[in-house]
């Protein structure tokens, strides 16, 4: 029907006009279309348009980003001058809130949105988590890594849980629980993050860590378009660790031997491989006055230089969009490849996506969303067994050892006496592979049935599937990896399936002559998850050419393993929203969730919430203020949400199994591995939120502020219990922690003229996690941190290093079994024993505050954006640095070790250098000396771009949009911290935040970008 209309429409006349903004400045590039057709044009540099329209054209629609869309009735005139008003971004947007949308002005809950453009500002952000970082108040990225494809996770408003999952739940076009790593941010239209409990309560048991709602791009009505968005970049190291060079390394050796009254072995027995020796003309060795050989190191290798490279990044996406009144299609294919600065580390992703929206019947709309793809990476720089990680070896390799000797043999770490055995890291990168790949698909069918004009039924079915394969192979002969097993291969597979069904009614109506508008949602959902895994491997290959492709070529087989687990959940939910006289807002939600991983007595949890808002600026008494304060809204909410993310089967006692040996034969065994807790139930978190939205000077300045307090109770906690029970831990519901925080987002349009714009965005958030109740116990939260009532969660709890014992303190030192030059700790209780009671609280690794400032300058087609990030109030525990001081002779050290104690230099924090047989060699009780102030200021991103004006593009007939840009990410980092970077997450857990354990260096990346639309 629609197409026949199109054919019958014949352009019959031309209309024209000028589009300006409120200041009278012309609006360039505004889209002017005849509503309901594909007939349209854009305004030129003077805001002028002209368009041939059919005779029956009724309405003209003029739209422009940032402006409110204008609709005009087409009369007999041929000239139409249009004044566009700025879109009050703050108040007018439609926000996705889960199971529906809501206009921002009618919302009484805390939700933050990130639009497509912002999300894609950082070209080397290869997932949405990295794209969001710094954009949303109260949302932080806790485990950024410089590693391509490295782990990354968001935390919404601090830490909602302690042992149970802490990740927010990701919802892609209504599909719950999507892996955010598979989403290409170029396909994302907007991201809305639900923060307070009234917002997240709609997701009940899964809502306690926040909800990230991702809406993908849809096809646009009108002429079809093809867009290519391509980025290519170069990443390089901008910070190096200050390691010893060859001469300094030998100085450390010399002092260590001297302390123990010995001389370095290469001075008594010549080691021509590593040293040059003074010789006379006839080739006889020369000796010094002590009768020792005169030698100097032959090599001075900078291992950081040898191991790193300029990394090339590629990111390309082609998308297609088209649509008519009834059906629209968006589709894209993308390829991304990110090299790491460490040689041979890389990440690659292919993905394709399609989003079809169609009105099939008057009463039926359908949306089909599909995403498929694969990703792969190479992690062979990661530590796989003790001491054999490429990054760690890079830092620890002695500078006197070459990459290769003159005879072609590879240098090894242990080539000089006492040096620890370790493989050449470059050889590790070459001969060991540790690859992973995964295939993923998400398919969703969403149908909306308009049962009446006011009542709709939404039925959605989703299928998600992913499998991940890990493959590793080490060629024969790698020290401590494959030296004794002649080639070593392993393959692991895991397969994950998720099926969900979401069904809900939506009813919208108005009452009291339109004074009260209301919206109701009532629904039910079912979720099913299944995981299967298996692994096997073998060693002793007679030939290296099989890699990991033929496990039966090895003669010794690794223990095969497999597993399966599944869980289910079933939910019912209700929501109503009311807006009375456009100024009094009320929202109520209620959700009931049942989950398989809880005890029989506690299968169901119930999660209510209520929120209210008051648009003060609508009140008559406010009218005098409107000149200054254009809009004002006060919001408050309270709600309860839950958390069920604990491992499956914790309510059941378990016998774990394995194989053990009797008289050289393998035989099966079982041992008690889990004490089931049948009473295990939901963790629930109660959150109170109060917020204020203000907009000044006709929306030139916008401020959003929120204060919240979130108390998480019945914490799902893997609680320690006395070992006398036979178990170390059991899952239980325990105590309470509290997150308090404040967030502010300020947008200021400082200068706004026809040609020049300057906008400043400030995003600030602060959060504190306090332990309120843990039964009066002290909980070891790992990595020398503890939790105790009344203090910050996971506070560092370490000895305080005072310095070193001096020669004047011989007797005092002896009472601790120590001598001058040994490390001196503060003995808090003065019992002459350094033990648990002498540990002290020393802050946390979680920043107190995080401030982002983005300034955007636009001049005609040019745009310059500068993104600064300041983070303060936290300490980094640097294992990298302290190991770099505790292991001289075993490995290379950081330059700080030269400050080590000597009789001439007694006022120092670094213990005297000595040989390994000394009992206090490498004393590294984790102490205050490992903690470094982490505060930093980063020039996170600078982007310069140019968009060609429509006038220029008119020359290129088919090109509708063309922009070019260049960006520098991580341009500079200002900090006292001596490591590669201030943001890191060791061990891939929250507890690893701000722990530097041989963290991957973060590059500076320069990227060029071209975006063209046909």
């Amino acid at each position: 029907k629609a197409s026949s209309d199109l054919i019958s429409q014949r352009p019959e006349r031309t209309i024209s006009g000028v589009v300006t903004d409120e200041n009278g400045d012309s609006v360039i590039g505004a889209t002017v279309v005849v509503k309901g057709t594909t007939i349209g044009t854009t305004t030129d540099i003077d805001g002028i348009f002209s368009l041939r329209i059919p005779s029956d054209a009724k309405t003209l629609q003029i739209s422009y980003v940032g402006m409110m869309t204008v609709e005009l009735t087409i009369g007999d005139n041929s000239q139409y001058n249009v004044v566009m008003k700025p879109d009050a971004v703050l108040m007018e947007d439609l926000v996705v809130i889960g199971y529906g949308t809501r206009s921002k002005k009618d919302m009484s809950i805390a939700v933050s949105s990130v639009k497509s453009d912002e999300l894609n500002e950082r070209p080397s952000a290869f997932n949405i988590m990295q794209g969001i970082a710094g954009k949303v108040a109260g949302v932080t990225n806790v485990s950024m890594s410089g590693r391509p494809g490295g782990g990354s996770s968001l935390r919404v408003r601090g830490m909602g849980s302690i042992n149970a999952g802490k990740d927010p739940i990701y919802v892609l076009d209504g599909v719950i629980g999507v892996d955010p790593n598979i989403i290409n941010s170029a396909n994302v239209e907007s991201i809305d993050i639900l923060k307070d409990a009234a917002a997240t309560a709609m997701y009940g048991a899964q809502g306690s860590n926040g909800v990230v709602l991702i809406t993908t791009k849809k096809g646009k009505k009108g002429k079809g378009s093809i867009t290519y968005d391509g980025k290519m970049g170069f990443g390089f190291m901008n910070r190096k660790l200050d390691m010893l060079d060859a001469d300094e390394y030998m100085e450390v050796q010399r002092r260590s031997y001297a302390y123990s009254g010995q001389t370095m072995p290469h001075l008594t027995t010549a080691d021509e491989k590593l040293f040059y020796y003074a010789k006379d003309a006839s080739g006889n060795y020369q000796y010094d006055e002590n009768g020792l050989l005169i030698a100097s190191p032959r090599y001075n290798t900078d291992w950081q230089k040898e191991m790193t490279r300029t990394a090339i990044t590629n990111d390309h996406i082609v998308s297609f969009s088209s649509g008519n009144d009834d059906t629209s299609v968006y589709s894209s294919v993308a390829y991304q490849n990110y090299e790491g600065v460490m040689k041979s580390s890389e990440y690659e992703r292919f993905s394709g996506t399609i989003n079809v929206n169609s009105r099939i019947k008057d009463w039926l709309r359908v949306q089909v969303v599909g995403t498929v793809g694969s990703q792969k990476g190479n992690n062979n720089d990661m530590e796989s067994s003790f001491g054999q990680g490429a990054i760690r070896n890079m830092i620890e390799m002695p500078p006197i050892v070459p990459v290769k000797y003159e005879d072609g043999t590879w240098g090894r770490k242990g080539d000089y006496k006492f040096s620890e055995e370790g493989e050449n890291p470059l050889l590790l990168l070459r001969d060991r592979r540790d690859e992973w790949k995964s295939n993923f698909s998400v398919f969703s069918l969403n149908s909306i049935l308009d049962l009446t004009r006011k009542l709709t039924l939404t039925v959605q079915g989703d299928y998600q599937q992913s499998n991940r394969k890990g493959m590793s192979y080490a060629k024969a002969g790698l020290l401590d990896v494959s030296e004794n097993n002649g080639g070593y291969a392993d393959i692991s597979n895991s397969d994950n399936q998720k099926l969900t069904s979401e069904n809900y009614f939506t009813y919208t109506d108005e009452y009291f002559n339109g004074q009260l508008s209301s919206n109701f949602v009532l629904g039910a959902s079912w979720y099913y998850n299944r995981n299967e895994s298996s692994s096997s491997g073998s060693e002793q290959y007679f030939d290296d050419s099989f890699d990991y492709h033929n496990l039966s070529a090895g003669t010794t087989w690794h223990e095969p393993r497999s597993g399966m687990n599944q869980n289910t959940m079933n939910s019912y939910y209700f929501r109503m929203n009311h807006s009375f006289r456009d100024r009094y807002l009320l929202g109520v939600t209620f959700r009931a969730d049942g989950a398989s991983n809880f005890g029989m007595n506690n299968k169901y949890g119930y999660f209510p919430s209520v929120s209210a808002g008051w648009r003060i600026s609508e009140e008559s008494f406010f009218r005098p203020l409107l000149n200054v304060v254009s809009q004002a809204k006060l919001r408050t909410s309270y709600g309860v949400v839950g958390n069920a993310s604990i491992p499956n089967y914790r309510t059941i006692s378990q016998y774990g199994n394995g194989s053990t040996i009797f008289n050289k034969e393998l035989t099966s065994y079982v041992t008690l591995s889990n004490l089931g807790n049948k009473d295990l139930k939901w963790e629930s978190s109660r959150q109170f939120n109060v917020g204020l939205d203000l907009s000044f000077f006709n929306n030139r300045l916008e401020v959003i502020m929120d204060y919240y307090t979130k108390s998480t109770q019945d914490l799902l906690f893997e609680k320690q219990i006395p070992i006398t029970t036979g178990y170390a831990t059991t899952w239980s519901n325990l105590g309470e922690i509290r997150n308090d925080g404040f967030e502010a987002t300020i947008t200021s349009r400082n200068i706004h003229t026809k040609d020049f714009m300057w906008v400043t965005d400030l995003v600030y958030s602060t959060n504190k996690v306090k332990t309120i109740d843990i039964n009066g116990e002290t909980i070891d939260t790992g990595n020398n941190t503890i939790a105790r009532e009344g203090i910050d969660w996971a506070s560092y709890y370490v000895y305080k290093r005072l310095g070193t014992w001096s020669l004047a303190e011989v007797e005092e030192a002896a009472r601790y079994g120590k001598r001058p030059g040994d490390i001196k700790y503060e003995d808090v209780n003065g019992d002459y024993k350094i033990d648990e009671e002498d540990r002290q609280l020393m802050g946390t690794g979680r920043p107190k505050g995080n401030l982002t400032m983005v300034n955007t300058f636009t001049y005609k087609g040019f745009s310059l954006m500068v993104d600064l990030n300041y983070v303060y109030g936290f300490k980094i525990m640097s294992i990298t640095h302290s190991m770099g001081e505790n292991r001289p002779l075993y490995s290379n050290s950081v330059k700080d070790i030269l400050k080590a104690w000597t009789p001439e230099n007694q006022n120092t924090m670094v213990a005297a250098l000595r040989l390994p047989s000394d009992p206090f060699f490498g004393e590294n009780e984790k102490d205050s000396y490992m903690l470094h102030k982490g505060d930093f200021l980063r020039i996170r991103n600078v982007v310069l771009s140019y968009s060609f004006s429509p006038k220029v593009l008119n020359w290129l007939r088919e090109v509708n949009n063309l922009s070019l840009g260049v960006s520098v990410e991580n341009l500079a980092l200002f900090t006292q911290y001596p490591g590669y970077d201030t943001e890191m997450g060791a061990f891939n857990t929250d507890n690893g935040q701000s722990i530097d354990f041989y963290s991957y260096p973060r590059p500076t990346t320069v990227t060029a970008n071209i975006k063209i639309t046909f």
């Binding site: 242990g414 009797f662 008289n663 004490l675 006395p722």
Partner: protein, 483 residues
Amino acid sequence: CDSFLEEKPKTFLNPDSYYQNEKQVLAAVNGIYTFVDDIMDSDIEPGSQSFIFLEFMHGYGERMRGSGTQDLAQANSLLIADNNSYVQRFWETAYRAIENCNSIIEGIEGMAEGTISEAKKNQYLGETYFLRGYFYFNLVRLYGPVPLKLTPTKDVSNTAIELSSVDAIYTQIDADMTRAGELMEDMEWTNTSGRVTKGTVKSIHAKVLLTMAGYPLQKGTEYYTRAYNMAKQVYNSGRFYLFDSYEELRTVENSGEIIWSIQREADNAGNPLHSALLAYPAPVKAVSASAAYGGAITVTRMFFDTYPEGDKRKEEREFYYTQQEALDQSGMVDLGRLYIYKYWDQDAAVTGKSGANFTLLRYADVLLMLAEAKAQADGGTTTDADAIAAYYAVRKRALPEEVKPTSITVDRILQERFWELAFENQTWYDMLRTRRALHAVTGQMVNMIGYQTPTHTAPFTEASLLLPYPIREKRLNPNLKRD
């Protein structure tokens, strides 16, 4: 809906519905043995196996490589802190094993008629009672009063168990060992299965009785006599014998002199000892294909010098060594000092993987226990023919020329124990129960309290005799207090 939310695990068994057949029982009993293995466990630092800690407590060994943490250095200064990881490890291993034992005993006793044969039931119960006693024996020797728990944990409502007296714990150990002995009375003394046999039970029971007779309970003559009688049963069984050469201690497994050992196998359950005890720093020419993470512990020169003149155990590559054939057979490689050779594994030297068993108890120990128990029962010196024969068998292997004595003293037997069983995880326990030490200069037995060994930085005191309760456990159970 209830069935939709029900959990149906497929990858593990639930102890609540276990114990249906013999195979299940066997798997559960096998599980207890995995805790016996735990003395091989270590943290990330090379050469930090649990058993090595006890070899630093006695002070006759020294370490060549740095320790990384202070946990081993604390053994040198005899100032063991409650956060020492070894203190936690010994405790943890014992109680995990005990819980499995408790659960198995309850499980087997509750099995339906006809689901297990009487013979299997006796064997498995015997092994379980024995192993429960064995782990309590380790606990009470290292920590003194500890919580005595004899039933499985059902919930965590009451986990703060009170301490039991040392006397009460030994009474329970004695009872468990006696029960195990009764259950296994009709079984063979030994076999090559690697499992606990009647011989194991009786030998360790003898050690329990000998310890009860000595410190800290000092039950005296009655228990020395019981210990003697128990050791005598093993002696009279005729199923055990001393190897002719010390080399067989390194090569023969599960028979002859070996009464009980941790079972190892190269590919699936390697033994870290060979590698941990290698020379450190590694010699220029490799003597073993194992990664050179050696230097965990070796003998001090002073202790070595206390061995009598002409003692075979002193000879190169018997108990100790200073050189070894290079891996490429290009000649002898000098290691620069003495290292322990007792655990040398030639297979591991070639393949890089050690599958050698670790001896927990050997017949030489039983013979010396027999002699010591009798000498004690007789007031410090004995002329008992069996006691002298037992002692002399061990002595003669080391010093073939020596004539058989007509009487022997306790000190002489103890001296022999120090030399024969050095670095076999026996010495520290011997010192605890006898309060005697071998003087590293004179080679004579002296009182342990007040004596300072060559590597310790302080003399032994009463406080050195017990490990502190682990900090983690003290936090979780406030009853863990010493007066």
